[in-house]
Subunit: 369 residues, 2 copies
Amino acid sequence: MKITYQGQSRHYRTVWFDPARNRVRLIEQRLLPHKFKIVSTADFRDTALAITDMIVRGAGAIGATAAYGLAQGARAFRGRGLKAFERHLAKVYRTLAEARPTAVDPVSAMRGVLSKMTDDTVAERQEQALAAAEQFANDDVAHCEALGQHGEPLIHNGSRVLTHCNAGWLAFVDVGSATAPMYAAQAKRKSFHVYCDETRPRSQGAILTAWELAQQGISHDIIADNAAGHLMQRGEIDIVIVGSDRTLGRTGEVANKIGTYTKAVLAKRHSIPFYVAIPLSTIDWELESGQAIPIEERNEDEVLSAWGVTPSGRRQKVRLANPGSKARNPAFDVTPPELITGIITPLGIFKPRQLWKHRVKLGHTTSGC
Amino acid sequence: MKITYQGQSRHYRTVWFDPARNRVRLIEQRLLPHKFKIVSTADFRDTALAITDMIVRGAGAIGATAAYGLAQGARAFRGRGLKAFERHLAKVYRTLAEARPTAVDPVSAMRGVLSKMTDDTVAERQEQALAAAEQFANDDVAHCEALGQHGEPLIHNGSRVLTHCNAGWLAFVDVGSATAPMYAAQAKRKSFHVYCDETRPRSQGAILTAWELAQQGISHDIIADNAAGHLMQRGEIDIVIVGSDRTLGRTGEVANKIGTYTKAVLAKRHSIPFYVAIPLSTIDWELESGQAIPIEERNEDEVLSAWGVTPSGRRQKVRLANPGSKARNPAFDVTPPELITGIITPLGIFKPRQLWKHRVKLGHTTSGC
């Protein structure tokens, strides 16, 4: 998307590749919104570290980073013979897969790249790796754009849209999921307003979504997570669009950032449409119940403290809470299908309980069920 | 309540009076939970400033502070004659009433004190003022204790109680409203756990309620405002008890800190009892609709920033949000009666829609309706 930095506007993806220097290039997301910086990773180990240290985060973005990292590692091979190359490649794969061990996207992205490396010579496979990684990134963008086209008609002139957390282009290679319909509506010159839930404890809404929307020139306000119910009650929200970390293809349940379920319950009470925007890779066709989704309990320090910037511009962590008190910090919750108006995908909008019926179209390829 | 400070435990009210030195004494609430400090106000102007600057906050607490401030001002009169005394008293009253112009408690507390100053001499009236102020503070404590007795049976051994914001003893002279049933249950040696909503943007739950509960030795965890829905979904909340800034006697609607409505909607969905604990002074017998309650929109800076303490112990404000983005900051919301299981008062627990039926018992004295 367009970023204005030091007075100049240009288009950036969250991650891309420099073939001449064999480097993966990334927006340093940990410094946003207070500083915009591009980092280059020197080798695949460096790329794995960028994933581990959350220089890059978000399903699509870390998938593409791992795909590029695999190509980077393959292209750095200086030995001789396919066998040595395969051994080297296995090490690259392992290093990148272990960068965020619970995430599925890096692994599935790298598997896609490996499946394209079929030619006979090391040099050919090196080129195939890069081409496949580029293809992965381009597909990620195309999928987000497609879901944006399907979601765009939901946003009208004058719409007031609520979103939660960051399911924006920073979480993907470009465009984003929950934000994709907004950017498509902006391209059609529709005028609308977005309310960004702050999204405590990590404040991704106040930090990342607000920054993204500001960069694209979309009218928005940040609100405390407590305020959405009141705004709905007073008729000031017309539609809710959120992303998802995992959507169950069998039940239509949606796991997403903590607080999503609350917004869905409120939207239902106020008859406000509640949409979830996802790329197909987010659909889990195996799990049979949302109760089976493991809910990560993150470090309590996230709730007890906050990161921000002092008036003098220094990044600073402060303790908010009573010293000695402890916190619970569940990071995700599960929204049941009866609260969800529709799932916006690159292939169209589906009722959550109809994902399973359309599973072949939606890419469910396992035969066992 | 009991406070442990520098290794010593003793009982404190939030506000009390030192007759020998004619000073109002207050817990400096702005420094909590990081520092415990008592301040003494030198004269009634100083007392008014303590209200304005929020050294003391909360309905009952500022009511008692104004009552003591009026007595302090009356006792400082050094002139001669009732007329001069009355002129002086009018100035004292005005100064204290203007300290927080939208609050009703200081005004109604001072009116109560004035109505008791009926004797013939200045000296007698000065003594009556102090006696009436002491009576006001004692009544505030007695009311909170009475509502605690009525609410106590709602908390069982093993109960997991959710509360929002701070309706604790820091908001009153002692005991508190939402916390009163908890302290009464603790006195009966019941074992239970409290979840304190952080309550962004001002974090009163994480700061004040958590500090109070920690001082009294009550088991508790702080949670992000986003997390209550998930905990309810997983069966980890048994009852919700909150306070109220204004409860409509005619409709049973409850205005309270932003986010209260959301918790009530969630509790209803999960069939979890939702109680509001109030002293009678909180009931508004005049307003005919919750829609007519003015909802204060506070400075957006509260949402965009947070106050905390650095690792080196310095109080520091940090900007959380994207620079340049703006915020909406409604401070209160209104919960309709159908979401409220009961209103806990010093006179018993009432269904919200039955307040009006019991208005005489509940102290509605105006004849005009």
